[in-house]
Symmetry: C2
Subunit: 235 residues, 2 copies
Amino acid sequence: MLGILGGMGPMATVDFLRRLVELTPALRDQDHLPCIVAQATGIPDRTRAILGEGSDPLPALEAALRQLEGAGATCIAMPCNTAHHWHGALQARTTRPILHIVDAVADTLMRSRAGDAPVGLLASTGTVQAGLYVERLARRGIACRVPEDQEAVMRAIRLVKAGALAEAGILLSASARSLLASGCGQVVLACTEIPIALRESDPELRLRLVDATEALAEACLRACSRPLAAARLAA
Amino acid sequence: MLGILGGMGPMATVDFLRRLVELTPALRDQDHLPCIVAQATGIPDRTRAILGEGSDPLPALEAALRQLEGAGATCIAMPCNTAHHWHGALQARTTRPILHIVDAVADTLMRSRAGDAPVGLLASTGTVQAGLYVERLARRGIACRVPEDQEAVMRAIRLVKAGALAEAGILLSASARSLLASGCGQVVLACTEIPIALRESDPELRLRLVDATEALAEACLRACSRPLAAARLAA
């Protein structure tokens, strides 16, 4: 059974669960993937910890992992990009596989990319500072680039956490457009708060966005679905 | 910690979690209510069981309850109206309080009602047949009335479970309007699939709808929130 280590933030987890339901080919409740979700809102801020400004989230991440294991989870997903800084430490503490969100994004990019243009990265300052995407995408031959005004992206992420979606959407659209204008082929929404604010963005822009939340949901369905759904997703 | 016995259906649980996040006064992740969610999609169909056409969901409901208890839940909510037919049986099997969705709706109605007009009920055929609302609202002096074409409501609920929201919305709007035309003062959306399909309905109609999902989310915040949120909700 899929276990979701969530709450980072809580609306991002809701958004992830929505994608999981929407992406499942289903006519009735019983066709959907059962899962257990820890909406662990108390986990200390990941970006602050990476920047050396806040407490270590690892103990709280591990406590949520134990809750999920205790409830019977056999495969874990974390719908928070920045928390993947602790992916290795968490994986070392459990025998259950923890899907990696950057690998899920890389799989999506390998299918959708045309040419060698770098991809743009809209991510938390923690994710950027920790080099989570740069290193892991480089292994797949994909270069990536961050916005000149990274501070605006982080401000937008905090606005989403406070429920100010429209204001956040304006900042994030501008950052995405400026990455595309600088020569990026696609822009990865590499923080699970970001797609919540860009849901209403214009269709032409959306075509060039790669959504990490959706990529992780697809990876979960591939890893955990019954044959029908898996076959449809592979098609 | 709040435990959510969900998956009935899975999108209804997502909708409930969204309300819980949106209704919480919060600026950052850590202001939100932590919770544990069993997305228990395999629970047998509640309406079929009440109509004597399907297997008993109680063992699967109890298994999900045990998962939540094991993960540390101290208060339980079930975002599925029909499942409340087994509320008494589940409550007898645990010392943790299980909030009752009809009581949450009754609290909302006591605050918002003007006059003695009956309330209309859009609910699954299981909820109607089991008399879940009629009896429990009568104790609070509230009469309720079901649509003439109950079969259309049940058809719409199954459409939501299959993802056909627009088609379901047309059926449900018509049923709500006909209850209001027959003299009901308000219409209770007494199945957690229903508000998902009526989200885009016209504002004038929406003003006369009482949403059981939202009522249950408010009851959870009152029961489980820290003082700040509780004070704001009481205001």
